[in-house]
């Protein structure tokens, strides 16, 4: 089998390599390359989040030097379900930061764009975003409808590109 290496699926420096049979047509090769690339990106993203969740689950009482409680499993579970519903394969992996009462915060910081989702408990989320053009005075309280968060996340790559263009 003749192998062909595809190196043009490059996303923030990572490269996906795919092997093809020489009898496979170009259209089929391209589609399969895209499928593998996207599932690899999603796997990397999931692995990143999974690793972080495992670290959080190991936190003990007093992890912050004061009286912080371990992160609540139900809260983690809810947060993961929320992430699955609002993120897509182009979403950068978020940072996940524990709170002191079993809560946690999911956040993205890209250039001058900040997006923070404070998951206080299942069905109790406070969402906040700041961009160069938008300064929010208060958090938005959400329960289980995250449409606005989904829209914010969709805009992340575009806002990041706009910043890079301005800076260049």
């Amino acid at each position: 089998m003749e192998e062909v290496v595809i190196m043009n699926y490059d996303y923030i420096g990572s490269t996906t390599t795919v092997s093809f049979s020489s009898s496979e047509n170009a259209e089929s090769q391209e589609q399969r390359g895209i499928d593998v690339y996207l599932s690899t990106r999603l796997e990397e993203w999931r692995d990143c989040v999974d690793r972080r969740v495992r670290e959080l689950l190991l936190l003990k009482q007093g992890w912050d030097g004061y009286q912080a409680e371990p992160v609540n499993m139900w809260t983690i579970n809810f947060a993961l379900n929320m992430l699955r519903s609002v993120c897509n394969q182009d979403t950068p992996a978020p940072s996940i930061v524990p709170g002191v009462k079993g809560d946690l915060q999911i956040e993205w910081h890209i250039g001058d764009v900040d997006l923070e989702l404070h998951v206080i408990a299942p069905n109790n989320v406070e969402a906040w975003r700041e961009t160069p053009d938008e300064k929010m005075d208060d958090d938005i309280a959400l329960t289980n409808n995250f449409k606005i968060v989904e829209q914010w996340i969709e805009q992340l790559p575009e806002l990041a590109c706009a910043q890079e263009t301005t800076a260049a």
């Binding site: 912050d64 004061y66 930061v97 524990p98 915060q105 900040d114 404070h118 206080i120 208060d138």
Partner: protein, 158 residues
């Protein structure tokens, strides 16, 4: 420094108050855990997560601090005292600046930390102490924070 015993609610949380034994010149220390360090969006630079400047959620929820003068009065070295397991560094605030920004500060001595205190936010419109800082309050805290024990390659302000 006098050791005041604050009032507590039925859940055992200190009822927020402003402690006059904490003087305006007093330094209040906030420990930074490794959990509070996140990517900044800039290459090779990390930042402090805003969760460092969040109180405990719920009524009377406050942001934990250590009262420097209380530690010194016990003949302890503050920079050694606050560097417990998992702590990478610390920031500090001046009591006067916190009060001017509308926060309340009170001692909340604990068996394991007699120098513990809390910072509470107030929502002016409601004049009710709530366990939450608004985005504006979080930003104010981030701007007021100064390094007490610096962590290299970390942005204090985003």
């Amino acid at each position: 420094m006098p050791k005041r015993l604050p009032l507590r609610d039925p859940q055992g949380n200190v009822i927020a108050y402003d402690d006059t034994d904490i003087l305006d010149d007093d330094i209040l220390i906030r420990r930074i855990s490794s959990q509070h360090i996140v990517p900044s969006g800039q290459p090779n630079i990390q930042r402090i997560a805003s969760m460092l400047y969040q109180p405990s959620p719920g009524p009377n929820g406050g942001m934990s601090i250590d009262i420097e003068r209380s530690i010194v009065d016990d003949d302890l070295e503050p920079k050694t005292f606050v560097m417990t397991e998992g702590i990478l560094g610390a920031v500090c605030f001046k009591a006067e600046e916190l009060r001017k920004a509308g926060f309340l500060i009170g001692a909340d001595p604990l068996p394991e930390n007699p120098h513990h205190g809390e910072v509470w936010g107030t929502k002016k419109e409601e004049a009710v102490i709530i366990g939450k800082f608004t985005p504006g309050q979080r930003k104010k805290l981030a701007r007021m924070a100064r390094w007490y024990i610096e962590i290299s390659n970390i942005n204090l302000i985003s």
